[in-house]
Symmetry: C2
């Protein structure tokens, strides 16, 4: 294992310190916890908290800031944060209008976030949860019942965050988050695995010419492995799966995320986007906004995922609203 | 070689198509050329053009937009763009106030950009050049006489771009670009090489526990190879070299880029930033703004570079001015 780290047991702590040192305009640390909040938290609005295992940077701390999250909780690498950590985030960001927890559909995350929300409720904080399950690849998986939550989660942060910023009530923010979740589908592929620092060896192994289709962001098995093919064929396969589950009519407006998994050249992400756009344009779909980059990574995994979000006028306006966070700035 | 591409000979063309399809709000293509300009080019201000070999995405097309570049020219992977391509960019963006070419110090780039600027001058366009040479690692190198230009170039795009946006004359924009260049120093390291698609094999080879210090963004040799060490020791070495060449006094304001080379987990970039900030803070230096991410990559190379820019009040104001481009948004 060759990594730019000091001690495998300290990577999350040192990463969080590095984030706060880089972006004090946006984020601060809750002392003694693996929790980042907005530099000016709490604010008198509905607050959003997300989180999960570390290793998916810039998720989730990179999306803390105006127009997106209020707090992010970082677990150990690929490990759910514990309820006490999540509770601390909720307490730190609650400004009296309630807190929405954005949870990705992994069994550990759901258990811990739900336990934290019960603990918060018992302290008198209004808490609601939504569960993101955008990955169409497989039903049920190593750590999941149902579908996994992957990069489409960033759309939930963005749109529900804009709704909260605009003064939406907790019920309204939860409803719009659920509408986003109902309208996102994602799927990914990997060329090469990643190595969790504390494990010291790759989470899976692929042959020299082999790729994995539909794997999860922790290296969970996908639908199958196959020999490497041209990018356009791979993208066509992923888009077929996505659009089979999320039919789009001509004239439909959408937004797209082409997400790098950490080790993928940006050049390749744009080659992927070329085919994604060609497929959508070919169906008469209007792409309102495309995001290309590393939004929800798997350490240095090589590969990508595509997320498609169907928009209506409410979702479109909230998507295009300003945001200012370490990893997502828009105005 | 396992890559998400269609044809090694088409990667630049397909990447450019993917960029325009992703970001039509910001960029458009000059038909028949590997040139991206602002969607609303030309505009009646001094224009900035940069470029170089492809494979360094988001450099340079990702920085085309309000407050930064007006045009970017993409060569073949790791190969300078030809003079006719550069000339086309200059002609496309000139709004009558002149064009500044921002060139990184590689022999091929300098030859071709200078030839293009002579051709443009002969067509009556006012053109000036600046040459970026921020890499303190080595004097002279595979494709360079003097020092190489690397990720610090992004500071030139940002600050000279802001000066042009504010209505600076060509002379003023060139002068501020030269002031930036005089005040940036950078240095990098690699854990693993990258593979140019058309070559099909890695540009260099490192042993299982070996890293290269001071290599270039095309895999040019650095100062030495050594066994992997803790991140803090590697960063300390790079910062010693940078600050030996760019002395900073207590109270000095700076900006920092921790730049990923394409295959580096974002987590590791933040672990690097933690030590960079600790070293600068320890000297009483004030870090005004830190950028962490993939700004000038080497395809999927694993590693990073650090760039430090000394600020005065003019450079600081221009650095913090708004910008809106595919890969750099600030407001």
């Amino acid at each position: 294992m060759k990594k730019v780290i000091n001690n495998p047991d300290q990577v999350v702590e040192e990463m969080l310190e590095g984030v706060v040192l880089a972006h004090p305009q946006y984020v601060k640390r809750v002392k003694g916890f693996s929790v980042l909040t907005r530099a000016n938290s709490p604010s008198p609005k509905v607050a959003l908290v997300s989180g999960g295992g570390s290793g998916h940077e810039p998720s989730h701390g990179g999306f803390v800031g105006r127009g997106m999250l209020d707090g992010a909780v970082a677990g150990a690498v690929f490990t759910s944060p514990t309820p006490d950590q999540i509770l601390e985030a909720v307490k730190a960001v609650d400004g009296g209008k309630g807190v929405l927890l954005v949870i990705k559909n992994y069994t550990g995350d759901i258990l811990n976030f739900e336990m934290a929300s019960e603990m918060a409720a018992s302290e008198g904080i209004q808490v609601e949860n939504v569960i993101v399950n955008d990955d169409v690849a497989v039903e049920n998986s190593t750590w999941t019942t149902g579908r996994r939550g992957i990069a489409g989660t960033v759309f939930v942060h963005k749109i529900a965050g804009a709704k909260a910023e605009a003064g939406g009530t907790l019920t309204e923010v939860k409803l719009v988050a659920e509408k986003v979740i109902a309208n996102i589908r994602s799927m990914g592929m990997a060329l090469a695995p990643c190595t969790v620092p504390a494990a010291g060896k790759p989470s899976f192994v692929l042959a020299e010419d082999e790729i994995e289709i539909g794997m999860g962001i922790h290296g969970e098995p996908g639908t199958h492995r196959e020999a490497i093919r041209p990018a356009d064929e791979i993208v066509t396969h992923l888009m077929d799966k996505i659009l089979a589950d999320l039919p789009v009519a001509s004239g439909q407006e959408v937004s797209v995320i082409v997400n790098g998994l950490g080790g993928t050249p940006i050049m390749e992400l744009y080659i992927v986007n070329r085919k994604v756009a060609e497929i959508l344009n070919g169906k008469g779909v209007k792409i309102v906004k495309t995001y290309v980059g590393n939004y929800m990574t798997s350490l240095e995994m090589a590969g990508f995922s595509v997320s498609v979000l169907k928009l209506d006028s409410e979702l479109k306006d909230l998507l295009l609203a300003p945001a200012e966070t370490p990893a997502f700035v828009q105005f």
